[in-house]
Amino acid sequence: MDLIQKLTISALLALTIVTAGMLIQNHIAVLNSPEATTDPQIDLQKIYEDKISKNTILYASVVDLLKQKQFSQADSKLQEIEASNPDNPQSLIYRAKLQYGLGESATAIHSYRLAIDSSPDYIDKKTPLFMGDEIMDVISETRSKLLREKKLKPGDTSIDIALEDIYYLQRRIAGGCE
């Protein structure tokens, strides 16, 4: 082993020891930091809890009116909320429920599609917002209705569009890596 080799190996060892030492020191510091003691899963649960409680208060009157089947009043109230909270996808969920209550199944399905595109949490089993089963019930009922209608009106393209929304929702709810 010549001098150059000896010097290079010494430098390599020194650099390795220093790097490892710095990494260990940093890792210990990170482990002891307040951020490390908080579980991201718990943080996320808290965000969802806040979101749900805010929405419960915000949409309380809409929920009551929908339960009482006072659809016209529910619609007015929902429009008010939509105007003041345009980015809240929960409005689309209640819009879908309202449309379904009025018998407008195809439009309800489209509103569910918009809601899911806006927030995939509604079909994510790992979040408390999950309502895939509820949407699937609406889908099953609407699909058989639309397939019956398609036989009666084979040239009606609006039925095809509604069916496309249904199949899209089915694929999304089925899961996979999307």
Binding site: H27, P40, K126, Y167, Y168, R171, A174, G175, C177, E178
Partner: protein, 353 residues
Amino acid sequence: MGNFKTPDIAIIAGASLGLGAVLLSFLGNPVNSGICISCFMENLAGALQLQDDLRMSYLRPELVGFLLGSFFMAKKSRRFLVTGGSSPLIRFFLGFFIIVGCAVFIGCPIKLIQRLACGDLTAVAALFGLLFGVWLGAKYIRAGVVLDREKSMPTINGYIFPTIGVLLLLFIFLRPSFINQGQTGPAAQHAPVLISLAISLVVGALAQRSGLCITGGLRNFFLFRETTLLYGVLTFFISALLLSLLTGQFNLGINGQPASHMGHGWTFLAMTLVGLASVLIDGCPFRQLIKAGQGDVDAGITCFGMLTGAAIVITWLLRSTSAGPSFNGKIAVLTGLIFCFIVILTYRKVAKR
């Protein structure tokens, strides 16, 4: 292992891949996506902050397992041969475009087989596309198209990729702050880490020993009517089918299939691109990862191309959704095919001289 002949090992590797893929889905990986190199690369790109979709950010232990399983098996069986230097940039971009094709279909050739085995009939168009792409690639090979020969390289080059594997393994367990991990969406869907790691180590080792490759099996059949690897692919399908039936994951049909779309024409073209590019670089995405573990530097460069592609398909919105392929994705597939044909033309001229 020494008592087994290559066809036996290919069949065992195929079975382990099929059982492993369906089992990983059953244990928590996304539905019909127990093993998917392109999806996992997208997840890895997110974990490394190369793309910013947190729902697609998770350092999948399976990728590390395949790489290290292959490395250990190659070392043990003295098949760790360090080679490289064969058209590295061409391979990088072919790796990139393979992931583009996979993203437009939503899945690599392994996931294609798993989707079929789980009853997803939308994957039939992808199967025809892959078969056509590989057949076309085989025809071009017969016509004299081949990338230049790899050369033996200094041993350290072969250790770089396995070292990256070890580093990623440390990241999985130490969870440094720069590694992103999504808590919702596909990122939150995963089997227990140790089980994923164990299954992928075994599959990686067996795949290295057997040379199992989806496109390689098809290519060998089209070129020489050689069926060793094809039996492995068929065993993969059959074992995945049986386990999906047993575990209740089988759902025959076109509608309501997870992470699928109805753009069958684009699916066909996207998988044609994957098949053709894979033949040109001698292996599907899974095989590239296995080869990178056994000292193939060219395959390592292809893997970097695949990782870059995985980040780009998300940031440039090339990836298809349940609504169908995006405009950007369609253009990217066509660009990929153009790139493949330019490579074919260029390398055929070289071979003629």
